[in-house]
Every structure is written in C-alpha cells, then in structure tokens.
Symmetry: C2
Subunit: 461 residues, 2 copies
C-alpha cells in the first residue's frame, strides 16, 4: 500500500479500501465482464470522508474515478491501473422522504429502484425510469443526466433534481441542497454537476423532486404508413392528451419484427407489415374517464388518416405486454458484434437521416442489420447495429451513425453521455467554442485534472 | 466621445451609439422613472457586433451592462455613469418558427409577447408568461430565469430554452444553439448563461421550445378554512388533474380583500371571510370533457373537506375576470412606500413563516400592511409590504421578510433574481461554498470583471 492509500485508509477505516483481487474480481461494467483495473477501490461512508480523500488525492495528483452502479454504456467510469475508484456504494441512505413537500433527500449511492420504491410507499412517484434501475445509482443518474422513457412528460434527471451536494477536486464541499422548485438566488451552481460525467465534482447527496402518482396509465400501440404520419400523430397526441402524454416510442419495422418474432416471446399485436409503429402512453388523474380519452385520441388519429391500425390495452396485463415488447431490446444481441447508439436529432430530419445511415452501412459493409427505435417525442433515436467484424468494423459503424449528424445539428449522445466511447466524435455535435468553454470549466474546478481524467474531452486542445 | 466609443461607433455604425440626453431621457426601469446614467447606450445589430464591442471593452477594462426590456425588479440592469449599456433592442428578429419541430429561433432582444404571438400564429404556445410580457425580452428572461404563473406545469425559462448563443467577456462567441430536448454531448454549457443575470456572458440568440396549444382552459376559485387544507388540496388537484394542472395560485385573505374591494374593479366571487383562496387552472386537450373534469375535482375536494366554497368559471369572460382579480397586483400601490417580495420556501413552513414575518413587522413598525399571495404550487410567496417611511423602513421591512428564511432553507429570490437589490441578503439563502463557486465561475469566464459588475455578489470575498 502506498502512503496515500494508507492515509486514505485512516480516513475510511476497515473495509474502506479494497485492493488486489477485491478489485479485479469486480466486473468493470454491466456489459463489460472484464475486471476492474485500479490501484484500489475506496469506499467512503460520508461526505466528510469524500472530502478528505479528494483533498489528499488532489495534493498528490492522484486520479480519481467516481463509481456508481457501473451501468453506463459509454465507458464513462472506466479506470486504469493507476486510478483510484471512488465507490459511493456505502453512501446509499435515503435520509428523508417528505410526502407533503414531495421531496426525497438521499445519499448519491442509493439505487434508483430503492428511490422509486420509497416514493411509491408514500403514494408518490420518482419519474426517472431506465433499464438499469436495479443497480444504477442516483449519483450516476445525475452525473449522466439520465433520461429514459418518460422524458416527454417529466424531463430528464436535470428536471428532477432540486438540490445537489458535491465535493470539488480539492475537497471543498459545495452543499447546494435546495428544496424548492423556484430558487433564483444567484447562479444555479448545481447545474455544473448534472451531466458533466463526474469530471467537475463528486456528487454525494441530492434532493429529488417527487410527483403525484398517476391514477391511471393508458397504453396503445398504433401502426403508421409513413414517417410523416408519425410526425403528425405526435403533435395530435400531445395536443389531445394534454399534459398526460408520458411516452411516444416509435418502433421501425425492423425492430418491431425483431421483438415480435421468436425467439422473442411477444406475439405481434398488429400486422408486421407497416413501416412504423408507435407505443403511446398517457398517465392521467381520472381512472374512470382516461380510457375513453385515449380511445377518442385514437379515433381522432384514424379520422385524420394518421393511424392505419391500433390496439389499446384493455387490461394491466395487456399494457405490460406492450411494454415488454418495446423493452425487449436484448433481442438485438442475436447479432454480434452489436453496437447500441443513442443519438438525437430534429424530428424533421429523422427519416432521411436513418436512410443515410443505412445507405452508409450498406455501402461500407454490404451485410448489416440496423434495428431502429426510440423516444421520438424527445428527438431520440436508438440503433442496434451489427456489421462486419473486429475493431475496423466498430469504427466504420460509428462513423456511419455519427458523421451524418454533423450537418443536421444532431447529437452523438441523447442520453448516455460521452465517456471515452464517444470522445472522438464529440466535435461532430459541439463546436470549438463550446468545447473550449467546457475546458475552461474543467480547469477552473479541477485545475490538477484529477477527476475522471481523459473522459468527454482532452484537457489540451 | 472617448477613443473606445469612437472605435465602437465604427463597429455599430450610425445610430448605434447613443450619448447625452439620448441616454438620460430614457427611464432606467419599469418602476424607476429616473433616467439612465451611463457613458453611452450601444445598440449592436448582430452577434458579431456584440463580439467586437466586448473584445474592445474587455481590453480596455470597460464595464458593460446588457439591457433588455428593463422590466426587472431587483436593480439587475442598473448602470452607473461610467458604464456602457449594451442594449439588444435592435437584435429582435424572430429568425425561424418551426411548427413541426416546435421550436423558435430568436435574437435575444425580441419582446416576449412577440414570441407568444408568433407561436400562437402557428397553433402553438410559448408557455412563459409574466406581467412584463409587453416589454421584457427573451434575453432578459434567460438572464433572470424568469418564472411566472405556469411554472407548475411548464417550468421556468431554464426548462423552455433548448439552445443559447452568448458572447463571453472577451468577445468569444459561444453558440450552443441546440434544438433537441435531449442532448448529453458534453457539459451543457448553456446552463451557465441562464439565471446568471448577465454576469457571465451576453445572450444574443436562443432556441425556444414551443408546446402544443391547450385546447381547453378551465379555471376555478376555491375558499379554504386553513392552510393545511390548501396543502392537501394542492396534492389532490395535482393528482386528480393529472398533467393538466397549470396554476395553483393562493391568495391570503388580506390580498383577496384588496383586489375585490373598490377601488379594485372586481367584485368578490366568494365571501371575503375565508382565510385562504386558491385560483386553480387546468390546461387540457379535451374541450368537451375538461369542464366536467374540473367539476369532479372540485367535488372530490368538497367531499374530502378541503374546499369550503368554490366558483368554476363557466365562460371565457368569467375565467378572465378571475384572473384579472388575481393579477390586479397594482392595488398594493394604494400604500406607499410599497415593497414587493418574491421569496420561496417549503410549503410546510409557509404558514409559520408568514406569521413570523407579520410578527416582526408588527414589532418593528406597529402599523403595517403585508398583502400575501403567490404561486404556492412552486413554493413561491409574494408580499406587497408597506410600513414606516424612509430608508430605515426599507431596510427594516427587508430584514423582517428575509431573515426568517435563513433557518428554514428558504430563498430570498424565487424568480426575480438578486441584482443589487438583494445582494446583501444572498448569504441568507446560499452558503459560503456556493458563493465561492459562483465567484470561481465569474473569474473563469470574466477575469477582468467587465460584465454587469457589482451585481449578485462582490468579486472579492
């Protein structure tokens, strides 16, 4: 053990510093079976301990990578052998659930599902919901500004976090634990720590905004004959369902066929011959009236010629089956190598963009699959793409997906973040001045560059 | 004219630099009849001109204060005789309204009402709405993260701005004109310019998020017998009206009496004898069904014992009358001197906080009025307070309102910002580490301190 690790051990006590096989026996990510490489995993129990650790690491120029649930998909928490991993796993307390104020105060290592359940226990809802719910942490959600299926209604993590406590690289604790929806007293410094992937500070605590639990949840799957119909239908549903529209998920034909054909377990609720399908959900306040309302919305869509066919879930079991179909993304792993993308772009550019990506995949690889689906209400498309073999294939696929975004102002990351995985492509979505400003922030808050070094962009231009 | 002004004149051309009585004949604010004091008012026509001006001013150490519609209430855009006022009034173009993508791209000097109207023209809505709509600008809305009546449904300006272009103190143009709801490609640098009161950059353009225009608007006024009933009723309405609840405005008895008694023009729709009234609005998608829905919500409130009496607007005229009553805030100017406050705090602390403010006013002044109302769904209380005379009175009133916020984690500014007016009280709502981090940002982005100097906090700790 180095002197630094011994000093850190004095702060965190027994069990607080893991080394050797206690480190390497842990998987380094949800789809990364390889073990963690790091000098040590440090497991503080309090903000004060995080502060002490960072102050020492900063003085020693020791790199530190914060670890939440390691469910990220962009190599945003990957460590090298010289790094310290700072795991928040022992800081997972739910400190307060306040049903009257509709807030929850937590330590950042708490698992998302625990937060969802604690909200549910008092008749409320924490609306963030993503596939990693069982192991991802609130700290990781904040660091990546996590999105998910309900962004169209409730926004991203940035919109659900009222207050944040973070420790800066030098150990300074910035406790900005605001509990109000409105607070314009000075710059809103908590925004710095949301979506900056652990590069500007380590989030230790947060105040989350809870919502009233919907009294009804109505779901339908519709088929459309063209992408123009999808675009019009989104506007119609948004207007007709008022503020209750909570999901507008589009499945391109290839993805719909994939998740409704064995070995997938769901049967196709509608013919597999339409080019597009939309899974539409409304969360309302009127269990008696809301089913009629979504039926009316469907018939308005029919009458406007925007819906070719539709099925409205008439039971909770049927509703869950529709979602199980949409969420059966694992089916893409029938193909290997498989690359998952989360890009965002303007809805008016989507049809031609997807065609261009497919044209490039065809041109480069001849043989390829590119399953396409996404949260179209938010401008977010996912691809599950497989073509070719080996590292060149990966690079070719990424270029086919990312390069056409540049000219249309699209983003290489709608919600997963940049990490190491997309660092090379960041400049397609952000201009030099934006990246220079990110660097200015990084240098101002972490002048020694100890926090999650090398992620998102390089410190030197 | 100084050399610097001559050089700026070369950039902005004829009519671009105002001096002398062209400056002093302009009012320095909406409730500030005194003329503007400044070396000059500079009126660029483009981002490039703003960039050129700031580069020169930065090199010369010349202070610059950006001017929008000057409707702010916290002395956030006040100038001194040595300052340059940088008015965005000639940068008021609406560059694009995109009904399909539901975005509007504007120059920052555009007036809010023009944006609202342009959205309306294509069947959409820009949800920000505040009293200054006829003269406030989008740039000012962004600089102050403006709120208003519909925050409970649509959020504050921060939630309505997809992209921002700003010019840094040294003239660097940071164009972060994102057009998507989701974009996690690197740090979200636009957040820096929202709510930082023109201290970190001059906002020159923005991409605004438009919403579907509600098809129905249902409004009711209810009377409650206790603040506990108000708290319960908010939760009930939020759950029952699903995502359609768009306003939950509470009027304390003294404010209700004021705006329903001559010289106010509205008659009391409900008896003046209840301690609290709530004006509740839902914006929905179903003109046929939504009136029934708010009636059902009201009856659920009655049945739960939370509503003592209620009136539901049955016509657009009646709806507008209810709002005219709530919005007749000018009535507070029957008293002088009159101080307007916008604090925020947790709903569970409101009743005791208002009592404590009144206790302090009584103790300090004996004779006082403290009209109380606000956007309670967002934690925001407004006071219209009059007590005593002269500068000591002002200080005494401010202390009575602000000081009790410190121990309960309230904010001295829910939505108006800090400016010069609340600078002295910022430390009641933000701790030393938060203010130190604000200073770090200010120094990193504006090292010479030329942008809106002296506002929000002092550069030296």
């Amino acid at each position: 053990m180095t002197d630094l690790l011994r000093a850190i051990h004095d702060i965190v006590g027994k069990g607080g510093v893991l080394t050797g096989t206690d480190v390497s026996s842990r998987a380094s990510g949800i789809w990364r079976p390889q073990g963690i490489e790091a000098q040590a995993i440090v497991r503080p129990r309090s903000t004060e301990e995080v502060s002490g650790i960072l102050a020492m690491c900063n003085a020693a120029g020791q790199s530190v990578v914060a670890h939440g649930g390691l469910t990220g998909l962009v190599e945003g928490a990957v460590t090298e052998s010289g790094d310290l991993a700072l795991s928040l796993e022992r800081m997972n307390a739910i400190e307060e659930v306040n049903a009257v104020e509709r807030t929850m105060t937590v330590q950042s290592g708490v698992v998302l599902e625990a937060v969802q359940n604690a909200a549910e226990d008092v008749g409320l809802m924490y609306p963030l919901d993503i596939g990693g719910r069982g192991s991802c942490t609130v700290g990781g959600n904040i660091a990546t500004n996590a999105g998910g299926n309900r962004v169209i209604r409730y926004g991203m993590t940035r919109d659900m976090v009222l207050g944040v406590e973070a420790v800066l690289a030098d150990g300074t604790v910035v406790s900005s634990m605001n509990r109000m929806i409105k607070n314009n007293a000075g710059y809103d410094v908590k925004q710095l720590f949301i979506g900056s992937e652990g590069c500007l500070g380590v989030v230790t605590r947060a105040v989350l905004r809870l919502r009233e639990k919907p009294r009804s949840q109505e779901t339908m799957l519709v088929a459309c004959r063209s992408f123009d119909e999808i675009v019009e239908l989104l506007k119609l549903m948004d207007a007709k369902l008022g503020g209750t529209l909570s999901a507008f998920e589009v499945l391109w034909n290839n993805f719909y066929r994939l998740v409704t054909t064995p070995p997938a377990t769901q049967k196709p609720p509608l013919s597999q011959d339409y080019p597009y399908y939309a899974l539409i959900e409304a969360m309302g306040g009127d269990p008696e009236g809301d089913h009629d309302r979504i039926e009316q919305a469907a018939s308005e869509g029919y009458d406007a010629g925007l819906i070719a066919d539709a099925v409205i879930a008439s039971s909770e079991a049927q509703r869950l089956e529709l979602w199980a179909m949409r969420d059966d993304v694992e089916q893409v792993h029938q193909y290997s190598p498989m690359f998952i993308f989360d890009v965002s772009l303007r809805i008016s550019k989507m049809e031609s963009y997807v065609a261009e990506v497919n044209r490039r995949l065809e041109e480069t690889f001849g043989d390829y699959v590119n399953f396409t689906f996404g949260h179209i209400g938010d401008g977010n498309i996912h691809f599950g793409t497989s073509a070719g073999e080996g590292p060149e294939a990966q690079d070719g696929v990424k270029r086919a997906v990312y390069e056409p975004l540049e000219s249309i102002g699209g983003s290489v990351s709608a919600e997963h973040g940049v990490g190491l995985d997309k660092k090379k492509y960041l400049k397609l979505s952000r201009n030099d001045a934006e990246i220079a400003l990110m660097r200015t922030l990084k240098k101002a808050l972490d002048p020694n560059g100890i926090l999650n070094p090398g992620k998102v962009f390089d410190l030197a231009a």
